[in-house]
């Protein structure tokens, strides 16, 4: 069986959940040979490329940008050359004229649900995408929440949930020395509040900054996010511009260190298909103040005591502020060993995701491939 996976979304500096998802898939497929031949479409400078190349892996270099009309053409050319049995699109980017069955992972519906933030081009693109996905394709998603939402657009199709996982590296404990070295390299303050996001409005960083500035927090706020003038303008109004620290992009391997260096992790997102960061932070023994994202509401073991996790209403500045106060209070009065995360067993490994994905590859072959002649 030939499976083609478009892994161009992984770059040196990509942080979002989708890049992480693809990276995990590719790494697992590379390290554990199956009786499947994998064709990974990568940028020529992609960090995924390993040498020597294992025998069941083929890299196809394609430097066209991720979301472009031109990549429709170049992907199609590649597909015609290789003739894969399945094309796996790990994000929203598919070649519309693809002759083989498509497996597409739709991580969330924020382009539809929060349509007002997107352009006309996006909306046209997504209606075409959904049209194509109704035929000869299978849809994967990452949470029950997204599945329910997708069901309204694909009522006749089965939608499979392959939840994201958390790597083991997040549960490892770092020495004070390592943490201090990391803080020094990235010019971080000794104690700080951390948030992760980007410029997009649904990440709700503006409300967080309002809440942070209105409360009297002595700890600075570190943002692993694109810089936005509006963020510093808000803080300037309250005279707290010096307390916002913008972190330059860090390599993926440093994320566990970052979570562990933080006193409290805050995640005020308005909409997430899964929401990896708060779960990762919890596993890293850091108190979490978060909006109720699927990763916490669906995948956290409900029998666990909820110490160290504070849910907030992200639309309400007061609620964010109160959550931060509780988070800091928890940080000051508990040592990390009695946070809930000690009780967490690693139920979140990527192995489950990989296994389910492989099952779906099998299923799609049975469903869509032409019947093999019997002798």
């Amino acid at each position: 069986m030939k499976v083609m996976l478009d892994a161009r979304v992984v770059t040196q500096t990509a942080f979002h959940g989708i890049a992480r998802y693809v990276q995990e898939l590719v790494c697992h497929f590379t390290e554990n040979p199956q009786d499947i031949e994998f064709y990974f479409i990568v940028h020529s400078k992609s960090p995924l490329i390993q040498s020597p190349v294992p025998s069941h892996i083929h890299y196809i270099y394609c430097d066209t940008p991720w979301m472009s009309l031109w990549s429709q053409w170049s992907l199609l050319k590649i597909i015609h050359r290789i003739k894969p049995d399945i094309f796996h699109a790990p994000s929203f980017m598919i070649p519309f004229l693809c002759p083989c069955p498509i497996i597409c992972t739709l991580h969330d519906l924020n382009h539809i649900v929060l349509g007002e933030y997107y352009s006309l081009f996006h909306r046209i693109y997504y209606s075409l995408l959904f049209y194509r996905l109704r035929k000869r394709s299978m849809i994967l998603t990452v949470s029950e929440f997204s599945k329910t939402q997708l069901k309204t657009y694909f009522p006749k199709q089965e939608i499979y949930v392959t939840p994201n996982g958390i790597g083991v590296e997040f549960s490892q404990c770092f020495s004070t020395n390592e943490i201090n070295k990391f803080k020094k390299e990235y010019e971080l303050p000794s104690k700080f509040l951390l948030t992760i996001g980007n410029k997009k409005p649904y990440k709700n960083i503006k409300n967080l900054i309002h809440a942070y500035c209105q409360g009297d927090f002595s700890l600075p706020l570190v943002l692993l996010s694109e810089f936005d003038e509006e963020y510093t303008h808000i803080a300037k109004k309250y005279g707290k511009k010096h307390k916002l620290y913008f972190l330059r992009p860090i390599p993926h391997s440093c994320l566990p260190l970052l979570y562990q260096s933080a006193s409290v992790f805050i995640y005020p997102s308005l909409y997430e298909g899964f929401g990896l960061p708060p779960l990762e932070a919890l596993i890293s023994h850091t108190p979490v103040v978060s909006s109720p994202v699927p990763s916490l509401t669906e995948f956290l073991d409900p029998t666990l005591s909820k110490t160290g996790l504070f849910m907030i209403d992200p639309k309400d500045i007061q609620s964010i502020s109160a959550g931060m106060i509780s988070g800091i209070h928890f940080f000051e009065n508990h040592n990390s060993s009695d946070s809930m995360t000690k009780e967490c067993n690693m139920d979140y490994s990527w192995d489950i995701t990989i296994k389910k994905t492989l099952d779906i590859y099998e299923k799609s072959i049975q469903l869509y491939s032409p019947k093999q002649p019997i002798l």
Binding site: K184, E187, F227, K241, H242, K243, L244, F246, R248, P249
Partner: protein
């Protein structure tokens, strides 16, 4: 320009140091840059340094080390036009001639032609935020050069997180290139001879800074005149007028006999003056770092500072904060400090504690590690 280089170990990587600032008066930026160069040369024995500067530094014994060579220029660097010409035109040629891999520019400007070899310090962006505070030619030169230099530079260094946010807002610099670190104070301010308890201090209010609009002298003088209605204290003003800043006027008021202007004074006199004063007042509208309050803290003098820009970040809990726009807030804090000895002593001990963060050895180690990582990426 035909000096032979005589390094003890000629194979080490060569770092150029832009010493244009050495020809100017030693105020905040120049003093810190001078100390920075000294410490990195002392600690950076695994590099060779070439200091490009004006003629009068040639025989300065302070630069005589195995790993440093001084290259002087025949131009008169005190003259401002020749100064810029030397930096933009001569310096890139010297860099090429002596085969330097990096050029460290500690004072806002760098030769545009050195492009990607530049490591440039941007101390603050006052000339973009409040251009009216500067003279016409200075403002336009900086507005033209600084964005271009910083965009091309290998690294942009700045001295506070606040200034880093300013740079992100106002200059076309990628966040990955910006590093911030804090300056330290000159070692002389740490000497024990200058430490004096509160009770032995004179009734003196000290102000240190160039006489320029952003230092906010008019509001201080208003507050001082009101303060004198109840208490007695002299006001001592240290600092000169510098032609790069716009002219501004202020009235001294009825107690002008108790106000003394000292102009530029050497560090030892300044340290002594800090120790004899009851308070350093620093009501600036904008500062990229703020060296004088830290010097006062090192000596053991309470600080009343403006809460503007990076000052709360640098001074943390060790100072009393005022609103620089409001002279009555300056007056209130002065009254408070004058009448409350325990507050003053608390501030002094907090100041001693705070100053420990700012250490020249750490700074030099950090800068040397930056050189090493830059050389790896070249």
């Amino acid at each position: 320009m035909s000096e032979k280089l005589q390094f003890k170990n000629p194979n080490l990587p060569r770092i150029g140091l832009n010493g244009r600032f050495l020809s100017a008066n030693r105020t905040g930026v120049q003093r810190a840059s001078y100390r920075l160069f000294h410490t990195i040369i002392e600690k950076g024995t695994h590099f060779n340094f070439i200091l490009f500067t004006s003629a009068q530094e040639k025989n300065a014994s302070e630069w005589k080390k195995d790993n440093v060579q001084v290259i002087t220029s025949p131009l008169k660097l005190q003259r401002s036009f020749q100064n810029y010409f030397w930096e933009q035109w001569t310096l890139p040629r010297l860099m090429k001639k002596y085969n330097c891999s990096l050029l460290h520019n500690p004072a806002n400007l760098a030769p545009l032609l050195c492009g990607k070899k530049n490591i440039v310090h941007i101390h603050d962006l006052c000339f973009l935020i409040e251009p009216q505070w500067f003279s016409f030619h200075f403002r336009w030169l900086y507005k033209f050069l600084v964005p271009k230099i910083s965009q091309k530079a290998l690294l942009v260094l700045t001295n506070s997180n606040h200034s880093k946010n300013d740079i992100l807002e106002l200059l076309p610099v990628n966040i990955e290139k910006i590093r911030h670190f804090y300056w330290g104070v000159e070692p002389i301010f740490h000497e024990d001879v200058f430490k004096r308890p509160w009770s032995q201090k004179e009734d003196r209010i000290l102000f240190v800074g160039s006489l320029e609009p952003r230092k906010n002298l008019p509001n201080l003088l208003l507050a001082y005149n009101k303060f004198r209605e109840k208490h007695f204290a002299k006001l001592t003003i240290v600092g000169c007028h510098n032609p790069v800043f716009a002219d501004h006027s202020y009235s001294l008021g009825q107690y002008k006999d108790d106000i003394e202007f000292l102009g530029y004074i050497p560090d030892s006199t300044l340290a002594d003056l800090y120790s004899r004063s009851k308070v350093l007042i620093y009501p600036s509208f904008y500062e990229g770092f703020g060296l004088p309050p830290l010097e006062a803290m090192a000596v053991g003098t309470p600080v009343i500072s403006s809460h503007a820009s990076s000052l709360p970040e640098i001074l943390d809990h060790a100072a009393l904060y005022v609103d620089p726009k409001d002279s009555s807030s300056i007056l209130n804090k002065l009254n408070l400090l004058w009448t409350d000895q325990s507050l003053a002593e608390d501030l002094i001990s907090k100041g001693y504690h705070r100053i420990k963060v700012f250490d020249w050895n750490d700074i030099a180690d950090y800068i040397l590690s930056l050189y090493a990582s830059c050389l790896r990426t070249l």
